[in-house]
């Protein structure tokens, strides 16, 4: 047990897994000497050497493609893509190669690679350095997508992701990197399982990543109005814990889904669509989504503040479905 920031928790998960398994290697831009743009790989070059912690050129497509080939040949590569916005450059390696290899080769092999990448705003980093694009990957059969919400889940899920035989996109919310908490060494989380972050009875809020914190804040505010919401922290968005969401809905009969990504065609749409089918009989009110509006992430502080979802919007969404 130690008190760690989210980025230190990532660091520890990498380091622990590298200790356990010599097949785990790290690839990325400025991850070795410089320790990564957000410091997640700091110190690992010294501990594990340049043959396992590899600084690459600015060649995202080749890095990701190489990870696929390496994973098919006995390594467990963990790739860092500096901003999720740059995942535009690795789509082929992920979608046409990594995601499909196991299936299309008749289960002769699997592709045990992890791609770590930060998403989200709050740094005024503008339209090309702030996007949340996880919905793309969730739509691709063969990829798993994980979005931890705090240091403890980051630590446990990254270990699970590295141990997993299939390709995992591991998404780190930038706004969470500095947040510290106790991280138990032995916490084990399975990919695909959600966490009940708060029990409640009046409505269910399903969220992941940074939005979990907004949901908990919303819960606190709603509690003042005697509204008691349950908060489900998805942790994995592909596969996602349909059972826990349905169970919660069956208890509260009201559903809100919240994330930082653009609302339209986002991850929330799928959660809602499943519940509007298999959970239809449980619904006592409209399902309301909270997500970013349909526009690129704007630069100016004033614009980005209005752009990003927050606890207020979740409060309003809950009030609306309870109307």
């Amino acid at each position: 047990m130690a008190i760690l920031s989210f980025s230190r928790a990532i660091n520890k998960a990498l380091s622990d897994m590298m200790d356990l398994d010599p097949a785990v290697i790290l690839l990325g831009e400025d991850i070795a000497n410089a320790g990564g743009s957000f410091g997640a790989t700091r110190g690992l070059l010294d501990r594990f050497g340049g043959h396992r912690v590899i600084d690459t050129p600015i060649s995202e497509a080749a890095i990701a493609g190489a990870a696929v080939g390496a994973a098919m040949s006995g390594l467990r590569p963990v790739v860092e893509i500096m901003f999720m916005d740059f995942s535009t450059l690795v789509m082929d390696a992920l979608v046409n190669q990594a995601a499909k290899a196991r299936f299309m080769f008749g289960a002769q092999c699997s592709v045990p690679m992890v791609l770590r990448t930060p998403h989200g705003g709050g740094l005024n980093a503008g339209p090309q350095h702030s996007q949340c694009l996880e919905a793309w990957f969730a739509h691709v059969p063969g990829l798993k997508v994980v979005v931890p919400s705090d240091a403890a889940s980051a630590y446990a899920l990254l270990r699970s992701a590295i141990a997993d035989p299939d390709p995992v996109i591991f998404v780190e919310n930038k706004a969470l990197y500095a947040a510290k908490m106790e991280v138990p060494d032995d916490l084990a989380l399975s990919l695909g399982r959600a966490r009940l972050a708060r029990q409640g009875k009046d409505a269910t809020v399903v969220a992941y990543g940074a939005a979990v914190h907004w949901a908990l804040e919303a819960a606190a505010r709603l509690a003042e109005k005697q509204i008691d919401i349950e908060v489900v922290d998805l942790l994995s968005v592909q596969p996602w814990d349909e059972e826990m969401v349905l169970t919660s809905l069956a208890k509260t009969h009201r559903l809100v889904v919240a994330h930082e990504a653009v609302e339209a065609f986002g991850v929330g749409a799928e959660i809602v669509a499943r519940m509007a089918d298999i959970g239809f009989d449980e619904l006592d009110g409209p399902i309301v989504r909270v997500g970013a509006p349909f526009m690129p992430v704007p630069f100016a502080r004033s614009l980005e503040e209005s752009f990003r979802p927050d606890a207020d919007r979740i409060v309003n969404a809950v009030l609306r479905t309870l109307e």
């Binding site: 097949a23 290697i25 390496a70 098919m72 040949s73 080769f105 008749g106």
Partner: protein
């Protein structure tokens, strides 16, 4: 161009000839099966190009890995795929190496180090790059080979791979199968550089090889592979060869000169090797015997494949993710 070096050993050449014939007759068999509607999807035949996969593979062992292209039948068979698994795959059967899920563009066999044909031009280079990285990181004595067409040199990914292979000094052999064509266009209209000039820029040793002469290919790559295995870093080999059929089956190649097409038979790698075998005293009857054996093996494989079961949908659906740890 690298020239034939060692004095030819008839038995070695005969083995190469046999493998080329296996590839050729298998593809010819596929032509018929395709025309009859038995092979679904697209198939890209490598007829005329057999000397490259067969020559290169003669220098590799089972521990070595290759990544292939959309035109990958020759790579697959030369790397040692079972004929039955190959035909069953192309016919979409459950006994196919990929259980009928991949087909021609995705033939693969991990047990022989064949990491897959690939439907994405250029993608194989990065797969081979990563495989070479694995060999190096895990201190294996293996090398990795990236096969790619001349047209693939237009993909940025190919350039990223050359750069990374050179920087990391990976055990990687780049084999360009230059058949002069990218689909329906001469590659000369698509590429402003030569691979020789490009390799030079990257400081990667470059060798141009007569890709129609299997002995030349084999003799050329053998020392290069040995050098790579000893840690010498990546090498580029450009094999000049000919695509005899259309880009895919069904392409009538109206865009090609009659003259060009007329010149193809002369360069046919089977003819080249056959002539040399004759010079070395292997008589026609012997070659006919080889052909008969090859055909017999192919017929057996085809008929086995034909009798095989169709794949089961639920089994396919269950293989998107790994249920038990496979590695």
């Amino acid at each position: 161009m690298t020239k034939r070096k060692a004095p030819p050993d008839p038995m070695e050449l005969l083995a190469l000839y046999r493998m080329m014939l296996m590839v050729r007759r298998s593809e010819e068999r596929l032509m018929g099966l395709f025309a009859d509607g038995d092979v679904p999807g697209f198939i890209h035949l490598g007829i005329g190009q057999e000397a490259v996969p067969v020559g290169v593979m003669s220098g590799l062992g089972p521990q070595d890995t290759i990544a292939s292209t959309h035109r990958g039948h020759g790579h697959a068979l030369a790397k040692g795929l079972s004929l039955e698994g190959f035909f069953a795959e192309l016919l979409g059967k459950d006994t196919g190496l990929c259980r009928g899920r991949g087909g021609s563009m995705h033939v693969a066999d991990m047990s022989t180090g064949m990491l897959g044909a690939n439907g994405i031009v250029g993608a194989g280079l990065s797969i081979a790059l990563g495989s070479a990285l694995a060999h190096k990181t895990l201190n294996r004595d293996s090398i990795s080979v990236a096969f790619f067409g001349d047209g693939a040199l237009a993909e940025g990914l190919a350039h990223e791979c050359l750069n990374m292979a050179a920087l990391l000094k990976l055990p990687l052999l780049f084999v360009c199968e230059n058949n002069g064509w990218s689909e329906f266009s001469p590659t000369s209209r698509q590429i402003a550089f030569t691979l020789e000039g490009l390799s030079q820029a990257y400081g990667i040793p470059y060798h141009s090889v007569d890709g129609n002469d299997v002995e030349v290919v084999a003799a050329s790559v053998a020392p290069l592979i040995a050098g790579i295995r000893q840690g010498g870093g990546p090498i580029v080999v450009e094999c000049h060869t000919n695509r005899v059929r259309g880009h895919f089956e069904g392409d009538a190649q109206k865009y090609r000169d009659a003259d060009e097409l007329a010149r193809l038979p002369e360069a046919d790698p089977l003819r080249v090797a056959g002539k040399r075998l004759a010079d070395l005293g292997i008589n026609a009857a012997h070659l006919e015997q080889v052909a008969a054996e090859v055909d017999e093996a192919i017929e057996a494989a085809v008929s086995l494949a034909r009798q095989s079961d169709l794949p089961v949908f639920s089994a396919a659906a269950a293989d998107v993710y790994t249920v038990e740890q496979v590695l």
